[in-house]
Symmetry: C2
Subunit: 696 residues, 2 copies
């Protein structure tokens, strides 16, 4: 590459990162404003009916609104892009591990993810918009990285530099980090999330670029919110993005507090592991229903919505009205509609309904109310207990319905209520709002097993660095406890979906095997100058993506490994029709006179590569020869046949390979014995091959 | 390994991490308390003399104190552990890249680093204790990881699990992170520093362990400081660890402020790059003097100390006395001795000396004064300009003297004064203390090129997350500007010291070469069952650390590569004396009846492996045979001779190899052509080999 091309590439790389940052920031803002307005309007209507004492009507209206919103979310999702259901974090994680699963990052997924998430959150489901936001960020990055969707003719010439796995993956990492930033307004937390949870390969250079992306996201978001503060955004009030200012509440803590925090860590770990266990069970159960088709998905979503509405409205109505604490300013208690802590619900003047302050609200506001300081007496033990059980159960049954649904919010809500509960019972000197934060941390540690990123996100949310030791301690305890039982929830989902995810540690079964043990069937190779017909037939016959190329007579005295060709490159080369009548080397110059190097670039997640059947070759052409040298990768990574499979797996994963050639150890045999791909390293596959041996 | 051993290993791993955390926290505290007391006592004595108007005596006393402290620091360093001089961060960085440089992490280095750093900082040098603290943390981790120093008989049986590169490196990463935490009280910043600057190989599991280590460090430090607040620690007052509370100063900023911040970023980048350029020049110049021997080192250190004293005292005395601002409380201005912002120096009552408030102080307090808010009028433009020039120059000439010296403090000080200066000149609506923070960030970005970690450290220092966008912006700008000129200061020093550091990107010269191009000389191999005498002679003759083992007749029909043996393993095996009269396979059982697998473990940085000359073998034994199979690594990573050197370099670096076998492509040649080691991938070496070719 020349100087100008390097410059173009650098400019593009940075421009892309910044564009991704601003787009994700914009979308995050749009999400929030939409949710705040839709949900706010819904709550306003219901509250107005209640103020006129038309309580039953209010309940029915509330239920109907939720059901309609839920139904439309499910419909959009089921008919347009089924891949948009769920959190999306496991899929992004798998993509960054090298799994090219179908349509994970397609533009239709992006669209449905945004719309579905807004409708789903507005429907009052016990789910969050944080996970979907991460997926949205990744989708935006993927779309920008391929220069818009080619289908709609939106491409740009410079973008060709991005048509490769590495740059695409980097950009999507940035997008995922920006998603977290847009969801939590936590730029440093976003970077750490990408590092800790999302990526498989991390490069130092990426830290810097990811950081810039999240910075842009945070700044865009911040300025837009600043603009909305002046009341230009409808019902968008103080709310939307969680941002708690609990500064200057903590100063010192005693041994009892530490004990309470450790206890909270242990319980959070246990309940988090239990949550993961049930999520797994319930997802499998739901999977059966969802497979029956789109109408079933919609019906189930509406059903869960009705249950949720009954729970939140019903439990609130069963809860007694409490007189307002007298020390509060008159406007503060009770409050109606959006914002505010002490909800009136249908209580008489001067009274508030504690459970409604949590349930009859958007989830973000419920979290804010739980985290708020100086409200020790607002929520009683029974209120908190009811809320905790409700949220924990609703969170479990909601995840898995066919709408974009994040796990952060249900986990934070149940953690926060549980933490406040523990704080109340212990009667420690610390503020119970603080216990709510620590409780949220313990549940997050218990389910997601992220530590540093959760800690930093919570710090950025609460803006209080003095909390750090407590949050760290509780995360340490809860993660350790939960790790004794099962894996993190995202890893579990990745595994349940059957995505071929390469784990960090090679499975134990690989240690006693060597590379040649898992090779299956005879290897399909090409000669370095091959007959066109044989290439075409081989490509039609097999679905393999990589083929070893063998240098044979007359180009070499004995057969030797020349390199590796990719299926997609072969098709492009054949389409170029640089054929010869006799088997001779044509050389690269001849090929690249007809084809541009960028014609060989990998197509994006929504693009479609040419298929072998689309080649229209005449009989005569099929009998001619094609020189594969120009498109052969001359330096494929190889392992000797008796290399330990575990060490081969390390090589495969750490270098992010897709194909690895196995070469013989002794002379006098074919120069390549086979090709190892990702599937050959899946423990399930290996265990299947050696079922009898390994059982012994 | 059995279940019990895995359990032991896990427990040990965590215990070690937590122990490292607490020890580093303790040492950090001890460092601070010592510096605060020594420097505080020195300043107190001088101030007392000045209060009696004996100004010349005060000056001489000040100068003498500094010179004595500096001289002893240099003496300790020059005579006991020359490796302790300088920052230590480049050395730690190189170690974690796989460079086993001599005595970098030895116990003597640790001791000198602590003592030397305390003396050096107390001597009023323009240097910090932060870099040395990182090195100290790494040394502590290294010492604990090898179970104390074997020389002093302090070992523990479980420690054997740690006698390998991977676990040792992980622990040292934790130590370095804890060092940053202890220096700045920034646990998250510590983790990010380790990730961004220190390590070459990063694993997700490490994030979690590093985080726990830094958490423990932070908690230990915090509780000890809490204890000292009650006045039990001599002159240790509010001070010691920088921790600024500038909360609630920023709310919004205008376009002018943003422009000022961008300007500050550009200037910071330029001045930072200039700083790096001069550091490199000056270090080379000093290197010549330092090579002349210990007395020269001490003399030069004392000389620089005298210059520093003259500067700080002299410039302060030339600065005029300013009347105290009337709105201050009476006790606040002027102040004498430690702490406080408005230093009296030798001014009349009701007046203060602005330059002395910065110069005549510990560096930590100077930073605190610069960062403090609501003091816009305290420092005039000329004061700041003088201080900036003084600090910038002193910082340059001080780094490189033979005492442990960190670069953070001089860079932060010059950045902060420069930032305040820009803030003053611009006359923006923001507090100038805030500009000082932004300025410090811009200089840190310009010299060290760390971004995320600097940002997080500054956030943790200032406890104000609202500053985030400004700091991010300034770091982005300053790093980008500075990257146009040269590399980060630590990378520069690594390169200058000639440490064989593997860069992330393979050098351009490697792209046109293949693996066999850089092989030098015939490869030295062993038979799989080799004559003892030939092994001993080969080991005596060469200094190589890895040898390919060839399976030959009668064990294989044709010669083939069996694996790789390490020098240290060969010596241990020979020392076990499992010899046979005829060349037969003895098998692993026979060998491990005499030797424990842990005998083959790698010795630590201070330990000493057995040398080949220490083997006392009889003539008869020399004629016997030894079976190398049990100690041969049967799965060495190999590359084919025509593999691109750049791709081989990626494999070598990403997998953290020390030896890589080059195998032939065609049959009928020796089964291994040579071994590639770290030195074969150094661009300087390759350029030397192909000087003529590459120049064309």
């Amino acid at each position: 590459r020349g100087r100008i091309q390097i410059f173009q590439y650098q400019v593009l790389k940075w421009l892309m990162a910044l564009l991704v940052g601003s787009f994700v920031g914009l979308v995050g803002f749009f999400n929030n404003i939409a949710v705040e307005n839709i949900a706010g309007y819904k709550l306003l209507l219901t509250s107005n009916l209640m103020r006129q004492n038309r309580n039953l009507e209010a309940f029915l209206l509330y239920m109907a609104c939720n059901a309609v919103l839920a139904g439309s979310a499910a419909a959009v999702c089921a008919y347009l892009a089924p891949a948009a259901a769920g959190s999306g974090i496991p899929e992004v994680k798998a993509y960054l591990n090298g799994v090219d699963a179908h349509s994970i990052l397609a533009p239709s997924t992006l669209f449905v993810k945004i719309i579905g998430s807004i409708l789903g959150v507005s429907a009052g489901f016990m789910l969050g918009k944080e996970g979907p936001m991460v997926h949205t960020g990744a989708c935006i990055a993927a779309m920008l990285g391929q220069g818009g969707s080619r289908r709609y003719g939106l491409t740009w010439n410079w973008i060709r530099y991005f048509k490769n796995d590495l740059d695409r993956r980097d950009l999507i990492t940035c997008g995922a980090a920006a998603g977290v930033t847009a969801a939590f307004r936590a730029p440093v937390g976003g970077v750490l999330f990408a590092l800790e949870e999302a990526t498989t390969w991390w490069r130092s250079a990426l830290l810097w670029r990811t950081f810039s992306t999240t910075a842009v996201s945070a700044i865009v978001l911040r300025s837009l919110i600043e603009y909305c503060r002046s009341g230009n955004c409808g019902l968008f009030g103080k709310g939307g993005l969680i941002m708690f200012d609990v500064s200057s509440r903590v100063t010192t803590y005693t041994a009892t507090d530490i004990a309470a925090v450790i206890l909270l860590g242990i319980l959070g770990g246990l309940l988090g592991a239990l949550f993961n266990h049930f999520v797994d069970r319930i997802l499998r159960r739901y999977g059966v229903i969802n497979e029956k088709g789109a109408p079933y998905k919609i019906l189930m979503t509406v059903f869960i919505s009705l249950v949720t509405s009954c729970c939140s409205f019903g439990l609130s109505s069963l809860s007694p009205c409490v007189p307002c604490p007298p020390e509060l300013a008159p406007g503060k208690c009770p409050t109606i509609g959006r914002n505010g802590n002490y909800k009136k619900f249908w209580c008489p003047a001067g009274h508030y309904n504690a459970l409604a302050s949590l349930f009859f609200n958007t989830n973000d506001d419920a979290i804010r109310n739980l985290f708020s300081g100086g409200t020790d007496s607002e929520f009683g033990v029974y209120t908190l207990l009811t809320f905790f059980i409700g949220v924990y159960t609703l969170g479990l049954i909601t995840y898995g319905v066919a709408v974009p649904s994040g796990l952060f919010i249900p986990v934070i809500l149940s953690g926060a209520s549980f933490g406040r509960l523990v704080g109340k019972v212990f009667g420690s000197g610390l503020d119970t709002g603080l216990f709510a934060i620590v409780g949220a941390a313990s549940f997050l540690g218990g389910t997601m097993r992220m530590t540093v990123s959760v800690c930093v996100i919570l710090l950025e949310l609460t803006n209080d660095l003095l909390l750090l030791p407590l949050i760290m301690l509780v995360l340490l305890v809860s993660k350790t406890v939960a790790d004794c039982f099962n894996k993190g929830v995202y890893e579990q989902i990745v595994r349940m979906k059957g995505l071929p995810f390469l784990e960090v540690h090679a499975d134990a079964c690989m240690r006693s095997l060597v590379a040649s043990d898992v090779l299956s069937g005879p290897v399909i190779t090409f000669s370095s100058v091959e007959r066109v017909g044989s290439v075409v037939n081989t490509l039609r016959r097999t679905g393999h993506n990589g083929f070893p190329v063998i240098e044979e007579e007359p180009f070499a005295p004995a057969p030797e490994l020349c390199g590796l060709v990719l299926r997609s490159h072969l098709i492009v080369l054949l389409n170029g029709r640089t054929f010869t009548r006799a088997p001779v080397k044509t050389g690269a110059a001849e090929v690249f006179r007809k084809l541009n190097p960028f014609d060989f670039a990998k197509v994006g997640s929504s693009g479609k590569a040419m298929e072998v059947d689309e080649l229209r070759l005449t009989e005569e052409e099929m009998d001619m020869y094609v020189d594969l040298h120009p498109i052969t990768n001359r330096s494929p990574y190889t392992v000797v046949e008796n290399m330990s499979l575990a060490k081969a797996a390390v090589l495969f994963r750490d270098l992010g390979l897709r194909h690895m050639c196995v070469v013989p150890r002794t002379p006098g045999r074919p120069p390549v014995l086979g090709i190892l791909t990702r599937h050959d390293f899946m423990p399930e596959y290996i265990r299947g091959l050696f079922e009898n041996v390994l059982r012994e």
